[in-house]
């Protein structure tokens, strides 16, 4: 979005019309409230950016179908000009006309019509340039169908608009809404507006509305509308004196028949503007982050670079984008309803005074007077930025322009950096509400993302701290490595031709995260459908499984105005975390996944695992929707965002840890309950503290040896396709599968064998790495980050003495356990007890005995037990086995 500059933020409010009581949609579901429809349709307006249009920023829903729209705003408008009672100079008139037409033409290109053009909706910035306000009202209200009030102002209505009639909701005699108006209606309104400017007075001001409208309709029989209007208002002389091109323009605008009237685009090219058009350069849309064209193609640096830094006013905040400023305004305590209430735009009656007297069985109510506070007052209120500026007054100027070269310092070196580094340690929820902190983070991410993919590494690094909510959509795209011309790719996918999956998609969408306003709006449903269809069509080897809709939801929510990006993110996410989950026959993938999951439960929480196995509460009963939708089916969006912020940083085995962390939060209740209660508990998952869940899953992840979550059906290693900017893979983010395969890696295991083992296997590689046995070179990780490990050799004492890995302890299988599986008391087991809590790697000749030993350990609640894949034989070729020197 554009920088704020000298603009202000303005808010205005209106009510969507209430739905008729108790009517169902064609699908049997309740109708969508009109306010939600408007909210959904509004979103696209945020992308309509043009220097002649007031930028739309946000919309929010209040109680009782109230909507509040936030947009760029200026205090001065043409109506101020009119109030002074002066006539505008012909040059000024031409300039205003041209600029208004520029705005209109741009809107028309986006399929929008203003319809509410009037003197007070043509604002002027401080340079005197035109900014059209409320241009999206007609679009967002579905041509006025979703609101009770008519859109447009009586004096400015074009004759055909009047002729098509007004639709009054309380009047059921004609059900049809009037036809939508075309772009030419705005040209008429512009004509009236320009006439007023030339005449220096307002048109048809003093007569009653119906007379006004009748007068406009009678103009059809007149030859020269301009003269008639001038005579009517007693300003014939002033009009006659106008230069010919202005008169010509007025005549062209005030053409009665629409077919003879020009469109805004045609008027712009008209010779009347010959003197003006040369002053304007056509608007060029800034290139988006993901496109085929060069982003710097139109960059022009001044001869003298220092010209750029000449700005001596210290108002750095106004250089930030409008939506950023608004976001910060909200964080700094801005409250839209309060602002509007203070200005008495929102006046509400006490609800007890507006109760109906009597309600019929079908819900129709009677005896309720019409509430005046529901009337439209479309005055725009300026939102004061004082509080925000005050809040940010201590933020140094350097903070607005952080240097990115230095990879060491993430936060800018300013006075407040100490304070900020203190903020980093606060809980995420508090950080997300901290104005200064968010300012710094947003600026940093904004700059990093502008430099994407060149600064990909830094994006990763900063994302590990946190991701500011405002830029989450793009940041995720960065983390998922989206590149290229996604728009063209998306457009080339056929999303219209019916496919067999359509029916299922149609059924699922109205049930997916519908508590959310965006996703429950009709626009949301349309976008949902298109993105899902695009994915299904472009992945012929995969199919639509229920749950894909939930998976799509966070991406669609974050990139509501950029379906292509939502699609691209989803297409990148699925192979990374859900490889082959959406195969037509995905049972082998899911079965393997769930088995590894239950091994992870046993690894991290043997007590819980024992209990769950005992009551037969296996992951198949509850965890499939967790993993198939990556938890999007079980959590609301705001929790998913925090969860995925971390998930996207981890590798494909991170979801296991999240699953275990969720179980651990419910641990007490699970342990206390039997099968039936557990099923009930999980049928409607209780509230989960998501921050704790994230924190714990990271801890779990750090304790998990990488190869323990090896899956043969995981995504095969990608071909090395690094393109120069490729991020350097870190230990945590890279997948086990991506590492070069060696003899010491894990071998695929048949599902039945895998299921038989309680504890996970780890590879010899991991063992060597974790025990720091490696002969060559330094370890990949520093010691601090590694889980502590103890190798337990369960071979006989003789075998052990013939060669073992250094640091391992010997507990022969036969000596360790009693007949009932309890751990026997002996020196070796005592040592084991001392090492309780470390990762225990069981090593033996035969895998079978190791597995048995491990399952015994799990039975007696030893955490973090795993077995060495391939046993001791795997290690023999490495030459790492040592023979203890005989004790003297």
């Amino acid at each position: 979005m554009r920088p704020l500059k000298d603009a202000q933020l303005g808010a205005f409010t209106f009510f969507a019309s209430a739905l008729p009581h108790d009517v169902c949609g064609s699908n049997g579901l309740p109708l969508t409230p009109n306010s939600i429809k408007i909210l959904g349709r509004f979103q696209i307006l945020k992308t309509v950016t043009h220097p002649r249009l007031c930028q739309y920023v946000d919309i929010s829903r209040g109680k009782h179908e109230r909507l509040i729209v936030v947009a760029e705003h200026y205090e001065s408008s043409l109506s101020h000009f009119q109030k002074q009672g002066k006539t505008a100079s012909p040059e000024k008139v031409l300039q205003i006309a041209y600029e208004v037409l520029e705005g209109l033409e741009f809107m028309n290109k986006h399929g929008m019509v203003h319809r509410a053009l009037s003197a007070h909706n043509v604002l002027m910035d401080c340079k005197g340039n035109v900014k059209l306000a409320k241009f999206g009202l007609y679009h967002m209200t579905d041509h006025g169908a979703d609101v009770d009030f008519p859109i447009g102002y009586p004096s400015y209505l074009a004759p055909e608009v009047i002729a098509q009639g007004s639709f009054h909701p309380s009047d059921s005699s004609h059900d049809e809404a009037p036809l939508p108006s075309g772009p030419k209606t705005d040209v008429w309104s512009l004509g009236v507006l320009l006439f007023e400017l030339c005449a220096g007075r307002r048109l048809l001001q003093n007569i009653d509305i119906s007379e006004r409208l009748k007068f406009i309709l009678t103009l059809g029989c007149m030859d020269d509308i301009v003269t008639v209007l001038a005579e009517e208002h007693g300003c014939l002389d002033t009009i006659k004196e106008l230069p010919e091109n202005v008169l010509e323009l007025l005549r062209k605008c005030l053409t009665f028949l629409p077919s003879k009237r020009a469109t805004p685009a045609e008027l712009l090219g008209d010779p009347v503007f010959d003197g003006v058009s040369c002053l304007y350069t056509p608007f060029q849309k800034p290139v988006s982050l993901f496109s085929s064209s060069l982003r710097c193609a139109h960059l022009e640096l001044p001869e003298d670079i220092s010209d750029l830094c000449k700005d001596d006013d210290e108002d750095y905040l106004s250089e930030r984008a409008i939506d950023e400023v608004y976001h910060l305004w909200c964080l700094a305590g801005g409250d839209l309803e309060k602002e509007l209430t203070n200005k008495e735009i929102i006046q509400s009656k006490p609800p007890i005074c507006t109760l109906p007297n009597f309600v019929l069985e079908d819900g129709e109510s009677f005896g309720q007077g019409r509430d005046r506070s529901f009337l439209l007052d479309d005055t725009t209120v300026t939102l004061s930025l004082c509080q925000l500026r005050n809040r940010l007054k201590d933020v140094a100027g350097e903070a607005y322009y952080p240097l990115l070269e230095d990879e060491q310092s993430s936060l800018p070196q300013s006075n407040s950096s100490n304070e900020l580094s203190a903020t980093v340690t606060l809980p995420l929820i508090i950080r997300e509400r901290d104005t200064e902190y968010q300012l710094i983070r947003i600026i940093l991410f904004d700059r990093l993302l502008k430099a994407y993919p060149y600064k990909k590494n830094l994006v990763w690094k900063e994302a590990r701290v946190d991701i500011p909510p405002l830029v989450r959509g793009l940041a995720w795209a960065g983390l998922l490595g989206i590149e290229g011309d996604i728009q063209a790719k998306y457009e080339s996918i056929d999303k219209d031709t019916p496919i067999p999956t359509d029916r299922q998609i149609e059924v699922d969408i109205p049930r997916c995260h519908q508590y959310d306003e965006l996703l429950s709006s009709p626009q949301g449903h349309i976008k949902f459908r298109r993105v899902l269809k695009a994915w299904v069509v472009s992945h012929p080897d995969l199919v639509y499984w229920q749950g894909l809709d939930s998976l799509c939801a966070p991406f669609l929510y974050l990139n509501f105005n950029n379906e292509a990006l939502a699609y691209a993110c989803m297409s990148a996410f699925i192979p990374k975390y859900l490889y082959n989950f959406f195969l037509k026959d995905n049972s082998h993938v899911i079965q393997e996944y769930l088995t590894v999951f239950s091994q992870m439960i046993a690894f991290h929480d043997p007590e819980l695992s024992n209990h769950l196995n005992e009551i037969g509460f296996i992951p198949d009963l509850y965890a499939i929707p967790w993993f198939l939708t990556m938890f999007t089916h079980v959590f609301p969006l705001h929790k998913i965002f925090h969860l995925w912020d971390t998930l996207l940083l981890g590798n494909s085995s991170f979801p296991f840890c999240i699953g275990v962390a969720i179980l651990q939060q419910l641990r007490d209740r699970l342990l206390a309950n039997g099968f039936n209660e557990c099923i009930l508990l999980f049928s409607d998952l209780p509230e989960i503290d998501i921050e704790r869940c994230v924190r714990e899953s990271i801890t779990l992840f750090c304790w998990t040896p990488k190869s323990a979550t090896y899956r043969q059906h995981a995504q095969p290693p990608k071909a090395a396709c690094d393109n120069g900017f490729g991020k350097t893979a870190t230990y945590y983010s890279s997948d086990y599968q991506d590492m070069p395969k060696t003899d010491l890696s894990r071998e695929p295991l048949a599902l039945c064998d895998l299921k038989a083992e309680v504890s996970p296997r780890i590879s010899a590689e991991d063992l060597i790495d974790l025990c720091e046995l490696s002969l060559a070179g330094p370890a990949k990780r520093t010691k601090a980050g590694k889980p502590k490990i103890i190798a337990v050799d369960i071979r006989s004492v003789e075998d052990f003495s013939r060669g073992h890995i250094s640091g391992s302890i010997n507990i022969p299988f036969s000596t360790a356990f009693g007949p009932d599986g309890e751990l026997l008391q002996c020196p070796a087991t005592g040592v084991l007890q001392n090492y309780r809590g470390r990762v225990i790697v069981v090593i033996s000749h035969a895998i079978k005995s190791a597995a048995m030993f491990a399952s015994h350990l799990v039975k007696v609640n030893f955490p973090r037990v795993c077995i060495l894949d391939g046993g001791i034989n795997k290690l023999k070729p490495t030459g790492l086995l040592t023979v203890p020197s005989p004790q003297i």
Partner: protein, 557 residues
């Protein structure tokens, strides 16, 4: 190629023709397009490229010509429609006056700029003033004043009761005497005469008291309102509020002496109640409070003696929230007549009269208004039905629909099961709004379903709660106020389950109407049910609603 839109609407289909050269071949692409074009042009373009394997070197050309075509045709359509409308006007198919009047109406009725200026309303001004005062230090005074008025009314009422009682005793004695003489000196006719004389005397006395009460309430109300307005003016005028504070303080001390003297005794009943916090919703959960209470429905209305067990606090709470957006409502089950002559309606009216309503019309006045509105609503309905007799498909006729309409024809001022009227009160102890829900004898039977009018009425009540910020609502769980013999334990359990489940459904529905504002629903069971039954019901509740997990604090070892 075939277009896939099979929707048969009035929209026209136009053919887009595009010619291009591929090598030596001249190719022509013809695409029928439905106008107005709904789909995205880029998508359409992408699909055409894909479907017809159009060479990529004419990609851009195709796109420009496609969008130019659509733009041109759309403008033509707009023009055609617009001129059609203008023609209709000149041809006289549409009446100009009617048209412009419709426009005027929509402006006048929906926009502030053109709306008629508001006539000042006493009620709302008073509401503002009162709301301000009750949230100021003056609240204590207000409450005391209200209480003192209450006390004087109570005195009157007890005096009345006493007098009526005396009269009845006297009459009973007289009647005894007469009965004694029956057959001796007096005939049946004489007895009847005496009886009717007694009846008349009672009537006279009752009327006398009724009018006196009415007069006193009228005076009280006026005094009160004047005093409130004056106090408010004084508060606004004075810059230093010390003097006013004096004024505020003086009054209570004068009056508080009276406070204890006359209050009628109110027997404190042991109430049984249990509270639950629940979560609703699959992913996004909203929190609500439920309470199961065993009490008499009028306990929520009656005032207790001042000073006893938080009665004053409760009263303050009710007064504070009167004009706020967290109101309390109560569902009262009534029969099909809008009056207060019998049964629970009469009991309620008695309670409502115990204390002057300083803000709203008295109950009788409100009921009269309701009667008018009911008649109006019936008239509206029947005129609408006559208007569209053919549109029967919209409304699915329910069982007994014909009976109902007959019933209405018989007496249009009666209301039907499932319908309810609303009364507003400032003088009840814990309730601002009373929903008088009409039920019939059907609710006593064991087999009502979720489709029953009474249940639909509950849903509409909850909907009104939503639209009018009633955040606490009390619902009779068993849909009866008194227990009778046919209401066995299985009957109770079945009924409770039905109401719990329906209310749960409605609450979830409400979340989509108001964005999930947390609210309190109290389920009321009659006093006469056993303690055991109560606990059975309270065990049932967590099985139907998801009770939020209790926070267990465990010490980590």
């Amino acid at each position: 190629m075939k277009k896939n839109k099979s929707k048969a609407n009035t929209a026209a289909e136009k053919e887009f023709v595009f010619e291009f050269k591929a090598g030596k071949h001249n190719c022509v692409l013809k695409v029928p397009l439905q106008f107005p074009v709904q789909e995205n042009i880029s998508d359409l373009h992408g699909r055409l490229m894909l479907l017809h394997k159009i060479p990529c070197y004419i990609e851009n050309e195709l796109k420009t010509s496609l969008s130019a075509f659509i733009e041109r045709e759309t403008i033509l359509d707009y023009d055609r429609e617009a001129e059609l409308a203008l023609q209709r006007l000149t041809a006289g198919d549409v009446d100009v006056n009617q048209l412009t009047n419709a426009w005027t109406r929509s402006y006048v009725e929906t926009t502030l700029e053109h709306a008629r200026p508001e006539e000042p309303s006493w009620d709302e001004d008073f509401a503002d003033v009162y709301h301000e005062l009750i949230h100021s230090p003056a609240s204590d005074t207000l409450l005391n004043l209200e209480h003192n008025y209450f006390v004087s009314i109570s005195e009157l009422i007890s005096e009345r009761d006493m007098e009526i009682k005396k009269l009845q005793e006297r009459q009973a004695a007289e009647m005894d005497k007469v009965m004694h003489e029956l057959g001796n000196t007096l005939s049946d006719q004489d007895v009847n005469a005496v009886a009717s004389q007694h009846f008349d005397a009672q009537q006279v006395l009752e009327n006398k008291w009724a009018s006196e009460l009415k007069q006193v309430t009228g005076i009280q109300k006026q005094e009160y309102q004047e005093w409130v307005i004056k106090l408010h003016q004084d508060l606004q005028k004075s810059t230093n509020s010390s003097q006013i504070n004096e004024e505020i303080k003086v009054q209570p001390s004068q009056l508080s002496e009276l406070a204890d003297s006359g209050a009628r005794m109110f027997e404190e009943q042991p109430q049984l109640e249990e509270s639950f916090t629940i979560h609703l919703g699959a992913q996004l959960k909203t929190m609500h409070n439920l309470r199961l209470v065993r009490a008499d429905v009028l306990d929520f209305c009656k005032h207790r003696r001042h000073g006893s067990g938080g009665a004053k606090l409760r009263r303050l709470q009710t007064a504070l929230s009167l004009y706020s957006s967290s109101l309390c409502g109560l569902v009262l089950l009534v029969d099909n007549r809008v009056n207060s002559y019998s049964g629970i309606k009469r009991d309620f009216a008695t309670v409502a009269k115990e204390c002057t309503d300083f803000h709203f019309h008295c109950l009788e006045g409100q009921l009269e208004e309701v009667q008018q509105v009911v008649l109006y609503a019936r008239a509206q309905r029947s005129s609408k039905q006559k208007e569209q007799p053919a549109s029967g498909s919209q409304k699915i006729p329910r069982n007994g629909c014909d009976d109902k309409s007959k019933n209405v024809e018989r007496n249009p001022s009666n209301i039907l099961p499932g319908e309810f009227y609303i009364s507003r009160h400032s003088n009840l102890s814990e309730v601002h709004v009373v929903f008088h829900l009409c039920v019939d004898d059907n609710v006593r039977s064991g087999n009502i379903t979720a489709r029953d009018p009474a249940i639909m009425g509950l849903r509409n009540i909850l909907k009104v709660c939503c639209t009018h910020d009633i955040t606490t609502v009390t619902v009779p769980l068993l849909l009866v106020h008194d227990m009778s013999e046919e209401m066995t334990i299985p009957w109770c359990l079945k009924r409770a389950e039905l109401v719990f489940k329906c209310v749960k459904g409605f609450m979830m529905e409400m979340a989509s109407w108001d964005g999930g504002i947390s609210r309190t629903v109290q389920f009321l069971v009659p006093k006469s049910i056993s303690e055991e039954m109560f606990y059975q019901l309270s065990n049932m509740l967590p099985q139907i609603f998801r009770v939020s997990s209790t926070l267990t604090l465990t010490s980590k070892h």
